[in-house]
Amino acid sequence: MQDLLFYVFAAVALIAGFLAVANPFSRNPLASALFLAVALVAVSGLFVLLHAFFLGAVQILIYAGAVMVLFLFVIMLLDLREEQKRRARKVAAGLASALALALAALISAAALAGGGPADPPALEGGARALGRALFTDFLLPFEIVAVLLVAAMVGVVWLSRKEAA
């Protein structure tokens, strides 16, 4: 059952991801954004299969929820009909895709060569262990991320404010 679910989620994530970045049927950015949301949900399914339940929830809440809504909002705010007419230059696109493929192959070759135990131990503890780690050693990165969010907020407010004069 778990094996089957893995294949389903993996296939959905890859196909939706592909359609998000290179949709042969529609060049509408809205469609891309929706496919990306699907891919993100599928990844969260993979997280759950890896017993990272809390992360699965966070992925859906923050990524598929908040971030994608932001994307959709901006896409609809900007009038992007003009964008759809443009065609990507074929040669450049082909070269870039070949490069991406090569990099992916190199990375997966490395990842698969350095194997681990075939039967992974279960991830125990769940949210309780996470919470304990979060408020001991990991407190520092967590707080820095909080500061980072403040900085990003200040920046976003400044950048999107209309000029007074």
Binding site: A96, L99, A100, A102, L103, L106, A110
Partner: protein
């Protein structure tokens, strides 16, 4: 006293420069007095040091710790020995005369005070090179000499030619200096010290200490002298540096900057003379040693510059090429393994070449900044004092006894005769050339009838300018009596009687002396035949190809501009052309160097497009990963 005086000699010019630029800039007279006072005081202090009992007898050092971190320990100190004292005397005596002369020459200049501040800064830097006890300190002052000469040569920066000449001098020197720096690093990493005395001791203990890098290190250090002393192929900056005020030319070309290279070679002679050894990669050069290469370069420079000087029409350029030629002799003497004669020639040359430049300055001033020798003529009557001092200097340069130049040059030629007959023969040809171009200059400028506009009434400069000229003329006459070589060799002074020294060349090497005199006579006869009463140069009519080649400086400059794209000669030429290219946007004008072109090609990669950048980044990462996994 022995420690205080050298510090004073070194620091007085610095104090003068600082005082002038900080406080006395509006007071022109006071500024000049400060600057002149500093160097004259330095001159007297140097003389006192000579006179102090035992001061000159043995080398000593005074130092304060400057840099100490980890294994690195460098002191800031002064090394006082016969070599540095002699050089300091030359710098302060000739430099002092030029300072005083400047007071008259630059009278009408708007930035009079600034000029003297630069002059003092330059003197400070030069004295720093002279007294430096280690490589690092020497390199510091070496660069400071470069910077302050840049300020002086480009002093009239409103003229584009002056600005470009200053930049060219600076940049060409940097090329040589980088070799010098690499040489210092090599020596340091091999011998573990930068201190001259310590290096000499370590090399004496273990002559093979430099290992396979011995010859390379010597040649890299020679690169520094190549730039500063304007030897082929880095000689191209010196003639252009004539764009500076004439006293600056005198200072830079006679006594100080160009002499620094020869002085440095004499200082580190023990490194050059180390056992020759090449690294495996340069095995095909086995058999050549550093001194041999230095000798060849010096000789070539001497001949080349002498030839080019034959066909120059600008009075200062003739003198510039003559300087190049004489520097070639000095470097050749070093290459013959004889730093003593090289320093002797440096000292005498400093005096008479400065005198020639001051005379040229007086003429230029009298003719309202006319520098073309074919528009002078007949100045013998109008400016008798200038004529006689110029003639004395010319005779000294052509090695006529009993003037100073005779003894120093004969000494070099004699050593050449003993070691290598071919070198001697070529150097002898150089002597003929020297006499030819110098007497050409004298005959055209002072002889014949005036060829200038009628209304011009040239007259002697005021006595503030003539006193330094007389002083230098006196030095030139008397220098023959000085036993510089014996002094440098460490012998007690006054062992040989004056008379026996004066007749020395005749006693030691009569053939060489007679040959040298014959060369001078031959050159003089040729000049007399060709140029007496001439109104224009007869050579272009007779041998047009040769003359035009010489006029275009053997095409060397053009060749540089064309082919050695990476050299700064090309880049300096390019600067304006490239600017025009960018402004015009299209047409490619002028020559471009390969560096410029590569820069331009690389810029094509910088398209301004994020996708290109991201693609290149991805390619880089992919290459990195492939290298790791393969």
């Amino acid at each position: 006293m022995q420690t205080l005086f050298p510090w004073l000699i070194l620091l007085l010019p610095l104090a003068a420069a600082a005082l002038i630029s900080l406080f006395t800039r509006p007071h022109r007279d006071l500024s000049a007095r400060l600057s002149i006072g500093a160097i004259v005081a330095g001159f007297w202090l140097t003389l006192l040091l000579f006179a102090l009992p035992g001061a000159a007898a043995q080398a000593y050092e005074t130092r304060i710790p400057w840099l100490a971190a980890g294994g690195l320990q460098i002191d800031f100190g002064l090394r006082i020995d016969r070599l540095s004292l002699l050089m300091a005397l030359v710098v302060t005596a000739v430099g002092g005369a030029i300072h005083i002369y400047s007071y008259e020459y630059m009278r009408g200049e708007r930035r009079f005070s600034t000029y003297f501040a630069c002059l003092s800064l330059f003197t400070f830097a030069m004295l720093g090179v002279v007294f430096a006890p280690n490589f690092v300190q020497m390199f510091f002052f070496w660069e400071l000499v470069g910077v302050s000469s840049y300020l002086l040569i480009g002093f009239w920066f409103e003229r584009p030619a002056a600005a470009d000449a200053g930049l060219k001098a600076f940049l060409v020197n940097r090329v040589g200096d980088l070799g010098f720096l690499l040489g210092i690093l090599l020596v340091w990493s091999r011998l573990g010290s930068v201190h001259f005395g310590e290096l000499e001791r370590r090399l004496a203990e273990n002559p093979a200490a430099l290992g396979a890098m011995a010859t390379v290190a010597g040649l890299l250090i020679f690169c520094g002298a190549l730039g500063k002393s304007a030897q082929f192929p880095l000689h191209i900056w010196l003639p252009d540096a004539m764009e500076g005020p004439t006293p600056v030319s005198a200072l830079i070309h006679a006594a100080t900057m160009v002499a620094a290279g020869v002085y440095m070679l004499a200082r580190v002679f023990f490194l050059l003379a180390a056992t020759p050894h090449w690294p495996a990669a340069l095995h095909f050069l086995e058999g050549l040693d550093a001194l041999e290469i230095i000798r060849i370069i010096g000789l070539f420079t001497a001949l080349m510059a002498g030839l080019i000087a034959l066909q120059q029409d600008d009075i200062k350029r003739v003198l510039a090429y003559s300087t190049l030629s004489q520097l070639g002799y000095m470097v050749m003497a070093i290459g013959l393994g004889q730093p003593g004669p090289a320093m002797f020639h440096l000292a005498t040359h400093a005096g008479f070449k400065a005198l020639l430049f001051l005379g040229a300055g007086a003429i230029i001033l009298a003719l309202h900044h006319e520098q073309d020798i074919w528009r002078m003529g007949g100045l013998r009557r109008a400016m008798p004092l200038t004529f006689w001092t110029f003639l004395i200097a010319t005779l000294a340069l052509c090695a006529v006894p009993p003037l100073g130049g005779f003894y120093s040059k004969e000494s070099i030629l004699a050593h050449a005769w003993h070691q290598d007959k071919l070198v001697f023969a070529l150097a002898w040809c150089g002597s003929v050339l020297t006499a030819l171009y110098m007497f050409r200059l004298v005959l055209v400028v002072f002889g014949g009838s005036p060829r200038r506009p009628r209304d011009a009434q040239p007259h002697e400069p005021s006595h503030i300018a003539t006193w330094p000229m007389l002083f230098l003329a006196g030095l030139t006459v008397l220098a023959g009596g000085a036993d510089v070589e014996g002094f440098l060799a460490g012998g007690a002074q006054g062992t040989a009687s004056l008379a026996s020294r004066l007749a020395g060349p005749l006693a030691h090497a009569p053939f060489v002396m007679l040959a040298g005199l014959a060369a001078t006579g031959l050159g003089f006869a040729m000049a007399w035949g060709l140029y007496r009463g001439a109104y224009r140069d007869p050579l272009p009519a007779r041998w047009s190809t040769l003359a035009s080649a010489l006029r275009q400086r053997l095409l060397l400059d053009a060749w540089y501009a064309r082919w050695i794209g990476g050299s700064f000669e090309a880049l300096a030429c390019l600067a304006s052309g490239v600017d025009r290219w960018i402004i015009a946007g299209a047409a490619v004008r002028g020559v471009h160097g390969s560096v410029e072109l590569t820069g331009r090609l690389l810029r094509l990669a910088q398209t301004g497009k994020v996708s290109t950048y991201a693609f290149a980044l991805g390619c880089g990462v992919a290459a990195l990963l492939y290298w790791l996994i393969r």
